[in-house]
Subunit: 401 residues, 4 copies
């Protein structure tokens, strides 16, 4: 079979997740990394049948609004208690430099003051209106596709969390939304503009962040019309992964959850952006929605995310679940999760790039609910329980063509 | 529909679990208890269709080798940081006394020195051989059935854990086993004699303990021949429930578990019996088998169960899971489970009594694998993952008759 | 020796702490309670020499702004997972009723909307100015003293936390402050008015809450002039007790604390009042001050206190300490503290009543720094480390008269 | 002042602690390491007055029974989640090689099968009797002292834990013990032979392990006679450090500890040696003795130490403290300590080398109880509470000469 190069365009191209994706892909392409954490590596013959993109056939580029190089970003992760294996930046210097050469200045558009503070003038593509920004992004995507002779293109949003979008201010149809793109009061934020530009250029879109992205009826409508598949939003990597695993257990045993408290501390740039109350609100809302869906009732709940610089890229979550058993006897479960954010997210990004490419080749368009297992706020499905999501994914993978 | 009285015979009739079953059933029959923790209460119309026994139609009796009354046992639980709601012993004094009147001296047979130490001479039915013990038990069951005009009978083993049975010394066929029942070297322990007696008298058998009970090919063969359904063994109530919930998550995300350490402390009589190394071995083996099945490989693992008197009926488990993600980055999950053993076990015993009665009415015999969700070492299935077990149970419940 | 009755006047007379004090004192007087948790019970012959008030010689009264009875408050605590032993309200009904008869309507004065919402009109003593409030309080204290023929009187503030007082608006001298007491813009809150009233009537003052109370130069000056001893503020009962124990260990080993995160959840009325951001601020500030004092530098730190109703009177604190050892190797300590607020606070209140009575008899006046071991924000000392505080207390107790 | 070279002889010269000592000393001598974790670096002018040995004036050698080089040992630690900073082995290659050249084959003498399994024939000094072993060790020490023109010599035992010594079989006087040194049934183990050899050659002895070492009346007698100071045993680095910090808090508040459970998991060679039940017993006994001393009564207690290879040099301890407060209300404290064993131990070894050198220069001999803060089973004192130990050390340091 002739080689089929697939583009992987990372919005937030030098953040922790993107950097780990870049290093990981280089290591996988050279056969130097184990496949731990990569869900699509467990498919065996089915993976072959699905035509999963081999790791070496991905070509990576992206948008970034911060200065620096991928090697610098990798060194920073190495220094954070081993968030990347020691020596990674040196070993994969060539691959990282090649990607750096394909990174373009991103757009900043209602991204919130925390993100805007990170972005010096030279790193940002100027745009007066939403439509101008979409145009600029689209030109970068198309240049990337042509220069590298890509058979297909996947855009993955891994940039820092924006403040919540005021969805009430956004028309529900594409025509309605389209009409606002030139105005000064267009309520869309950058993540949605990236999604629109990708869709317009025929690229699949994965939103791994809590930002709004393509999660709007008008944008989903446009994706369906343009035959582009979407997946999102907010990668389910840590504390929420556990929640969506444990809550079904309480439901299965009819143990009544009285309260579920979740405190998260983390120290990376994402954490710093979340210290801004506006940006944090988006993240917390995304995390709080799940319990009611899985339990069938709404227990007391509290979610905090706090920036503690000393933690680096490591996130520690402490959860306290207070519940009631037979005859009302109160009990509790506590857990502490100590995970490295980038190392948890990066393999899921790689899996998603492969899987949305499958969806694109199958001709699916709009939100692909079968990918819900990867997200905290899955588009295209109302299922949050991990077990059910894994089964849905499996059924989708095995669906006869 | 005419009332259909169902017998619930508890082996270990005044232990913590049995006492909580007795109080709970009294409270449910009077409509004074919420249905928290009772899985069969979530079935709605399906429950009606299945003809689940109403709580007030259960008639409770049992065997016990220790002196005392149920009211005393209930008061002891009340005093243990609320393992039973304060005032339970007084409120349900009449119901408890009625059960006490139906409790008969149990048998002690190779039960291990820890259990034998608990049993004064007057509380034990004399038996020189296994066959004599079986006969004595059977007479009690049949008297219970006749006196109370029971339409059906379920025997549930909730006595303290015995040492492991030497299964290599036990013939694989019923005829072979039957030939050993008169000899001095019959390797069966009491729990298996109870199971045989129940089967011979046509009663369904649930083994909620790690003891061997009916989990032997020869006994299963006999159950099939006598058309008796079986379920066992070792109720999945706490730390193992969590393990069977969390291990599939690690598998689904291909996070590699390096080690899984589980330390359990508890202070009730069960704990004291487990302080005897022989009895503990049975319990620990039961808990260690799961991980390999669910993960597909065998991580380092360690399980301890220790008796700490101050904890009373409360079990605290601390688990430390060391795992590796993408690019080999090491991470960890710890949890602390603080649960009340009796309050976790009792509703499952009640559910199992209802469900094995369904199996009996459907004419099922031998091990009912569909009830695997309730057990640490399920008979009749190799599935340990809670999610899959819950689905299997659901499918079984909905199976057209 | 002739009996010497000592008055114990509780501001917040039916709150959780006061209720536990009342039940505990009744139990101690009858010889029905162990002396667990009572520091002054370990003094042996020294206690006799110091003339510690025997428990039966305390006479309790107080102010309260909420309706209800002590028996009701006690029953509420009993129901909260055993915050009081089951049956306490009934057993000590007579003693509780006797105290109820001595409770007077309290004052509400700049107490914050959270507290004001709890106080119906009939339970509050009317007061248009600070001076009127002081007068009303003082009349109650003096009536209490006379009616009960008290040799001495201790006022202990155990009411809900007020918002922080604007101390910059308060004159530094008594004369200056005195001149503001009639004005509409007097910045004092109720806790300080109670303290002034007590001082004016010659009663010792203990402030067990984070509210300002007597912790103002002008009020301390007045106490010294009136020969009244003071102790405060904010009882060190749980998470801060641990902090002041553990921080000196890090200092002693020169382990560098990078960050110290403390999350507290609790469900009692105090917690509800703290859900009001103004009131919470006072409490959090009180908790954050310590680390720098004990470590000699200021690590990153975060303290949260959140109201989770299901926890009742139980407070669970999770602390995560991130520190660095030799050659910069990062390590961590986490702890979870599960304590019952009232049961931790009440014995300290009783100890303080005894000890400030010793100070009064010794003729000490103003803030008694030797009592710092009992407080999160000790008045009269800058020492926060528990070990040093315990030594200072010991030296004070043994000081020759 | 003329340079005064001090010898630091490490028994177990390529174990984790010794390797970290070697790297750390090299880094300190070059001024490349912060002084975090070094207690003697906080003394300021007092340190100067005491004549603390500057780091660059230490000359390191030692005994080892395992093959390999320090650089290899350092690389192994680097790979264990950063137990040494990445790049240490390369950066300090010259210093490590210089030490390697001074390492001599150690003796194995009743060291237990776990240790003996680590020691190939070529790495062990042959010795048929205790006296021969002592002689061989002594010759190495004296050669080290002469070759390097050392003003003074400190021997620190940091080798793996031996099984407990049968102290009942060992004469209480030096003359009695001396008479057994040629016999086949001398009950001393290697650690005690090292101590004797050091004493005979006039070197101070620090025993940082739970092995018996110099902790025998006959050996202490000999040390006093030879004017040699001793310190030991079993470095207080982690879970016990916390115990000796927290237990005094419970005592100070008269909170009654009902049970204290401590589970430790660790994965380094020390852990492997502890997996041998004989060796573990010594360690556990050392840890269990403390509570009674500090609390004044003996709560239920349980200590486990288990080898989990995946943890590498990281030790995780989980402690569960069950206690009772006022009116018998039960509460709990749990903590999880995640520490790097070598990084915690190494600076204490360096501090002890400096401080025992102070003792030697002051002419002290026998067990120096003032160094008790560094040990789990301190010789020369019965004080275990960290706070009191720190004060005793401080007083000793400030003692006028």
């Amino acid at each position: 079979m002739a080689e089929r190069r697939v583009g992987l365009w990372l919005v937030g191209a030098r953040g922790g997740v993107a950097t780990t994706v870049a290093v990981g892909l280089a290591a996988l392409a050279r056969g130097e990394a184990p496949t731990t954490g990569l869900v699509t590596e467990s498919l065996g013959p089915l993976g072959v049948e699905l035509g999963l993109v081999p790791w070496r056939d991905f070509c990576v580029g992206g948008h970034e609004v911060r200065p620096g190089t991928l090697a610098e970003a990798a060194r920073e992760l190495e220094a954070q208690h081993g968030a990347l294996p020691s020596g990674s930046a040196d070993r994969y210097a060539a691959e990282l430099a090649a990607i750096d050469a394909r990174v373009r200045p991103g757009v900043v558009f209602r991204s919130g003051s925390a993100i805007e503070a990170l972005a010096p003038a030279g790193c940002v593509a100027p745009a007066n209106t939403a439509r101008e920004a979409i145009g600029a992004i689209r030109r970068d995507l198309e240049e990337f596709r042509e220069t590298n002779q890509l058979a297909s293109l996947v855009v993955v949003i891994v940039s820092s969390t924006e403040p919540p979008t005021d969805t009430s201010a956004i028309p529900a149809t594409w025509d309605g939304l389209d009409a606002t793109l030139d105005g000064a009061d267009c309520a869309l934020r950058a993540s949605s503009l990236y999604a629109i530009a990708a869709i317009e250029s025929g690229a699949a879109v994965v939103n791994f962040t809590p930002s709004q992205g393509a999660d709007l009826p008008a944008i989903e409508e446009r994706a369906r019309r343009r035959s582009v598949p979407l997946a999102g939003r907010d990668g389910k990597t840590g504390e929420t992964l556990l929640k969506s695993t444990l809550a079904p257990m309480f439901a299965a045993r009819r143990l009544e959850v009285l309260s579920w408290v979740s405190h998260n501390i983390l120290g990376n740039r994402d954490g710093a952006v979340l210290a801004d109350p506006d940006n944090k609100r988006a993240k917390v809302e995304s995390k709080e929605r799940l319990l009611e869906t899985m339990l069938g009732y709404r227990p007391e709940s509290l979610v905090s995310i706090e920036h503690i610089a000393s933690m680096g890229d490591w996130k520690t979550a402490w959860d306290h679940v207070h519940f009631r058993g037979f005859l009302g006897v109160p009990m509790s479960l506590q857990f502490t999760w100590q995970g490295c954010d980038s190392a948890l997210a990066a393999p899921l990004v790689l899996d998603l790039a492969r899987l949305i490419d499958v969806a694109a080749r199958r001709g699916e368009s709009g939100a692909v609910g079968a990918l819900g297992a990867f997200f905290k706020s899955p588009q295209g499905t109302t299922e949050h329980a991990l077990g059910e999501q894994v089964r849905a994914l499996d059924a989708w993978l095995r669906r006869p063509r």
